[in-house]
């Protein structure tokens, strides 16, 4: 036992596992079993200690009975002996209790960390496909509580085993002493547990309602706080105060409804086990008077019956945790069972890659010459985005605006997607901003392709973003919050551009990358961008003359190519072009 603390600790230090394994996703039940199989050892030892823990607790009343018997006989040595037995049992249950607890923690952690690993691995495999296949709300709710529920289901196993064993011990001891007493316990405990169960279901339902109301009120409060500047700047405080008060009153009402059943449950948990204690005492007293059992035994049985509250509560708890775990597993499997054709993501060793020649969007006739900076000026922003997504293969075949794209005469669909994603990168108009340090945000690109030293600094300079780093107190180690809320729109946009430049792909597609920066900065970005991408294919969707000016070629597109050439030439030769980029007009 002395070696124990190290053993569970060591097990936990091995988390997260190098490989979480391949789960059995055929059904929630099989999934739970798969989780349990992965941690057989801690489940087993946890149960063993659980049994020792609970049984030694169950024996304390019996030892107290023995002591009482000795007292009635005024047998001093026996009194001393029995008190030592109580001490030994008390210490044994303390030691077994903590050993069981440590295994319960390990059981929870092994399971929960493994599931988190599985989810994150599945999510990265699905990548941009995930959002298309799962409702956004579900993506946001993924994780946390469901993972905890499955962990809880394994955590409770040790205590449950102990509960069963201690119940059996008490039942057997009483049965041997007196069949009627034993019968009260053997039948009473399941009866009490089953009697409490019907309250449990509606109680949990009301708890869920209360929790939902609370979440709603809380999100209303967060929403009000988040929009506080608007409310204080423009007005509307009264309306929001009233709205919140209503939500808060709903919470109060829901809490009261839960409290009503909680009260019933509290009462039942006093009355039902209490009834067993009274019955045992009553029957036991008769037996004691008849000298069928000794006084010591009477006290022992009374205290044992009182002890049974503990296993009874454990049974109820285990039942509700296991039910919750099945529901949670179903939700987790909703993501884990999604699949994506991995074939296309595999790295290919195609000697003909990259294709040497122009990329052609057959739908509009746009031709992208390799190694040049091409500016695309679309009739509408949507048209520009759709064109870039075709070139970057981000639109699904089911999209209305899909269409064939060829590269050096070969259909891009014949190129493995894994290679394509690595080499053709599109910066979206509103990319997702991941929380983390600025350094984490900028260290992008495949792990096996080491960043050149100075790559980040160079990209920061090109995107005119060095001053952002300087303005942050911690520089590159600054923490960026969720969605980079602490930065202005222009700062976020420039840092996203830095990310794309750090990846430094073979082909870079940028969707209006300077829309939120001021003209001074935009002009500087356009200049440095053309330098940074010299000799590499870059495609920018834009309507800014400051950007178009720097392009090797500008293509004006409205369903089809309307004009192509250099910015300065088009300004003279194509009045429609001048209308779009200089006067912000429409085509």
């Amino acid at each position: 036992m002395a070696a124990d603390p190290a053993s569970v600790g060591r097990l936990m230090l091995e988390l997260p596992l190098a490989d979480p394994g391949v789960p059995d996703t055929r059904s929630p039940g099989r999934f739970l079993l798969w989780c349990a199989r992965g941690q057989r050892r801690t489940l087993l030892t946890g149960s063993v200690f659980g049994v020792i823990w609970m049984v030694s607790q169950a024996m304390i009343p019996l030892a107290l009975g023995g002591a009482l018997g000795a007292m009635v006989r005024r047998d001093k040595p026996a009194i001393v002996e029995w008190s030592l037995v109580v001490l030994a049992l008390g210490l044994l249950q303390a030691v077994a209790g903590i050993l069981r607890h440590r295994r319960a923690v390990a059981n929870f952690l092994i399971c929960a960390t493994r599931i988190q690993q599985l989810i994150v691995r599945r999510a990265t495999l699905l990548g941009g496909d995930l959002a298309r296949r799962v409702a956004s709300g579900e993506v946001a709710n993924l994780g946390a509580s469901d993972v905890e529920r499955v962990g809880d289901a394994l955590d409770v196993i040790g205590r449950f085993s102990g509960g069963v064993a201690s119940y059996l011990v008490v039942a057997v001891v009483l049965l041997i002493a007196s069949p009627p007493l034993g019968a009260i316990v053997v039948l009473g405990v399941p009866f009490a547990v089953l009697a409490i169960a019907p309250i449990l279901k509606p109680f949990e339902r009301r708890q869920t309602v209360e929790r939902d109301q609370r979440t709603e009120a809380s999100s209303l409060a967060s929403d009000t706080v988040a929009g506080l500047r608007v409310l204080r700047g423009l007005g509307g405080e009264r309306v929001f105060a009233n709205r919140y008060e209503q939500a808060s009153n709903d919470v109060a009402r829901a809490s009261m409804r839960t409290a009503d059943l909680q009260a019933l449950l509290d009462g039942a948990q006093v009355l039902l086990p209490g009834a067993i204690v009274v019955a045992v005492t009553w029957v036991g007293a008769h037996l004691a008077v008849n000298h069928t059992i000794s006084d010591g035994e009477l006290v022992a049985f009374y205290a044992s019956a009182a002890f049974l509250v503990l296993p009874m509560q454990t049974f109820v708890e285990a039942a509700s945790k296991w039910t919750a775990a099945v529901v949670a597993s179903r939700r987790i499997l909703g993501v884990l069972t999604l699949d994506r054709n991995i074939e296309t993501l595999a790295d290919a060793h195609d000697l003909d890659l990259p294709p040497r020649g122009a990329m052609v969007d057959e739908r509009t006739g746009v031709q992208i010459q390799p190694g040049l900076l091409t500016a695309i000026v679309p009739a509408t922003p949507e048209e520009g985005t759709a064109l870039l997504e075709r070139l970057a293969r981000w639109n699904g075949p089911e999209d209305d605006d899909s269409g064939p794209v060829s590269w050096a005469g070969r259909s891009v669909d014949s190129i493995p997607l894994g290679w394509y994603r690595d080499h053709v990168v599109m910066l979206e108009r509103s990319p997702f901003h991941l929380k983390g340090t600025l350094r984490q945000a900028l260290e992008v690109g495949p792990l096996d392709r080491a960043l050149k030293s100075g790559a980040i600094e160079a990209a920061l300079d090109s995107a005119q973003a060095s001053e952002i780093v300087e303005s942050l107190a911690d520089g590159l180690d600054a923490d960026l919050p969720e969605r980079w809320r602490s930065l202005s729109g222009g700062q976020r946009q420039r840092l996203s551009l830095v990310q794309a430049l750090v990846v430094d792909p073979y082909v870079l597609l940028l969707d209006d990358p300077t829309s939120a920066v001021d003209a001074h900065t935009e002009a500087a970005i356009a200049r440095s961008l053309s330098q940074a991408r010299k000799g590499r294919t870059t495609i920018i969707c834009t309507t800014s003359p400051l950007v178009a000016e720097q392009a090797d070629e500008v293509i004006l597109v409205c369903d089809t190519v309307i004009a192509a050439g250099r910015h300065s030439d088009l300004l003279v030769s194509e009045p429609r072009y001048e209308a779009v980029v200089l006067r912000g007009g429409a085509l």
């Binding site: 001093k76 995930l130 009000t224 706080v225 700047g233 009553w282 202005s488």
Partner: protein, 584 residues
């Protein structure tokens, strides 16, 4: 906002204030509180009958105690006591549940009320992050403490008291067995809590970190695939997990010491009761009935003592949360002006401003727009344009110099009054969870549908209105219809039109729209705002050209000013930029 404002947290109420608030709340609910306590006392006392009855039965059976008429009477007493205990527990639990629900509702209302009356400058300075935490975690913590921990604590303390009193009556000498482990328990608990609390906070933080990383990985799937971040995300989550497990391991180690220690502290008094009680009885100093009851009382004490110890921390955390919630009410309201603005003139004179002492962001700006004119503020990032916009709208007070509206210092105007004069719209929009109508009608709750539609039309918002399935009644926000950033800015501008102040300050208010859409919007907006003073921080040169007056700001100073044509003639930095724009 380009410059990072220093973050001061909001105040935290003192323990005295918390106590005062608490006792006032209890006083308001005097009767309910009394009822709860009465039921709990009844339940606790009824819970003590069992050991007494058993002691009597044992005494009778042993033939050396007081006569008890029959076992049936004893059993009946026990049964009645059980019923009293069960029913009182039910009644107490129900009454406590209702009482705490009312207390919490009131507290939440008070908190949100206080938040909604915070001065604008305070919100701008401190940010909403701290308030966000208070509105969510602190309310949640307090709810947990008040709904779960407090009643359990009251019950447990009541039971402990009742048991100790019963023990003193039954066998006063045996009550002494409780004393030896008391100091160990107290010191051990103090040690444990002092280390465990920060430990659990770290666990919670790293668990949240792990979860939010997993969720972001799912939500940002496309960006992660684009930037080839998959492997990094996996290893980051693995690192988060490692840290989370390490924090769990730390608290588990603490428990590995603390739990057996407390268990030992519980078992020692029981052993002493058996030993001392038994020997005293053997020597005839103590009746068997008293000994039996006393031993059972000592054993009965374990569970409530354990409850008290395990909820101690929750109560303290709840008190701390309450302090933070009440703290928001303690923010000082700025010294307000009593004079009324006499004209719609906005005048800034020699304005200096610094976020950090010694680092002026604004270095003496003068600006006095002609009422009804359109002014554009242009200049590179970080020049101080946004800061100046905040000062113009009374959010901050200048360090030296002044910003006056109709002769009154802008920052000293009461919020309600200020926003009739001047309103700021920045690129940081917020769409509230609610209908489009609710989102538009903030400043004018009585606006008709026609007025709302007109305002939307002025910001080119009709296509958005048509797109939304329920028109003005479409629910917006998280989990409902999402607006694009551009559409959100349109909503923000429509709100502004409905608020109808005489001066508007727009800080990049159309930056998130497509340049062409922005240009179109600005023109239709200009028609609606004819006659109002519009000061616009603009990054697009077309916006500047449309203005009556342009101020070029750099390093917190106006370096060039005048009409578009004046500036071109001056051949300064504006002219250079414009020419490059024109491709000349």
């Amino acid at each position: 906002m380009t410059e990072a404002a220093p973050v001061h947290g909001f105040p935290v109420a003192s323990l005295k204030t918390v106590r005062r608030y608490f006792s006032a709340a209890i006083r308001r609910e005097r009767r309910a509180t009394a009822a709860v306590l009465a039921f709990y006392v009844a339940a606790s006392i009824a819970g003590l009958v069992g050991p007494q009855v058993l002691g009597q039965v044992v005494a009778r059976a042993a033939g050396n105690g007081r006569e008890i008429r029959s076992i049936e009477v004893a059993a009946a007493v026990f049964l009645v006591a059980l019923l009293v205990q069960g029913l009182s527990s039910t009644a107490a639990s129900r009454a406590a549940g209702h009482l705490t629900a009312r207390l919490l509702a009131r507290l939440r209302g008070d908190f949100v009320g206080a938040v909604l009356s915070l001065p604008v400058g305070v919100v701008e300075d401190a940010g909403t992050g701290d308030l966000q935490t208070r509105a969510s975690s602190d309310v949640e913590q307090l709810t947990w403490s008040v709904r779960q921990a407090a009643p359990q604590m009251v019950v447990a303390i009541g039971q402990c008291t009742a048991i100790v009193i019963a023990l003193l009556f039954t066998a006063p000498l045996l009550a002494l067995v409780l004393l030896p482990t008391l100091p160990v328990l107290a010191l051990g608990t103090r040690w444990y809590l002092s280390l465990a609390r920060p430990g659990y906070q770290r666990t919670m933080a790293s668990w949240d970190q792990t979860n939010s990383r997993v969720q972001e990985t799912a939500a940002g799937g496309r960006t992660i695939e684009t930037l080839s971040l998959a492997e990094r995300r996996i290893s980051q989550v693995d690192a988060d997990i490692r840290e989370w497990v390490a924090t769990e391991l730390y608290t588990m180690r603490l428990r590995t010491i603390y739990f057996p220690l407390t268990e030992a502290c519980y078992v020692v008094p029981l052993v002493l009761a058996v030993l001392v009680g038994g020997l005293l009885h053997a020597d005839g100093h103590l009746s068997i009935a008293a000994t039996t009851a006393a031993v059972l009382y000592v054993q009965l004490l374990i569970s409530p003592v354990d409850t008290v110890l395990s909820y101690l921390d929750e109560i303290q955390l709840g008190t701390a949360s309450l302090g933070r919630l009440l703290g928001v009410s303690e923010i000082e309201k700025p010294d307000l002006a009593e004079d009324e603005p006499v004209s719609p003139h906005v005048v800034a004179k020699d304005v200096h401003y610094a976020y950090r002492t010694g680092h002026d962001v604004l270095n003496g700006i003068d600006l006095a727009p002609v009422p009804g004119s359109r002014v554009a503020l242009v200049g590179p990032s970080g020049a101080g344009k946004s800061t100046f916009a905040l000062l113009l709208t009374g959010v901050h007070a200048p360090r030296t110099g002044y910003v006056r509206i109709g002769g009154v210092d802008a920052h000293r105007l009461p919020t309600d009054r200020l926003r009739q004069e001047v309103v700021l719209v920045t690129q940081e929009y917020h769409i509230f969870n609610g209908t489009l109508r609710e989102n538009l009608a903030l400043a004018s709750p009585d606006a008709t549908d026609a007025e709302l539609v007109t305002a939307l039309e002025a910001v080119d918002g009709l296509p958005m209105l048509e797109r939304l399935p329920g028109g003005l009644d479409t629910r917006l926000g998280a989990g409902a219809n999402q607006l694009s950033p551009g559409e959100s800015q349109q909503v923000a501008l429509a709100r502004l039109i409905l608020a109808d102040p005489h001066t508007l300050v727009l800080d990049e208010a159309t930056a998130l729209l497509d340049p062409r859409a922005a240009r179109h919007l600005e023109r239709s907006l200009a028609r609606v705002l004819e006659g109002r003073t519009v000061i616009a921080v603009a990054h697009r040169l077309q916006t500047a050209r449309d203005a009556d007056y342009i101020a070029v700001i750099d390093h917190g100073r106006i370096i060039e000013q005048g009409s578009h044509d004046d500036l071109l003639a001056a051949e300064g930095s504006y002219a250079a930029l414009w020419r490059s724009w024109q491709g000349a």
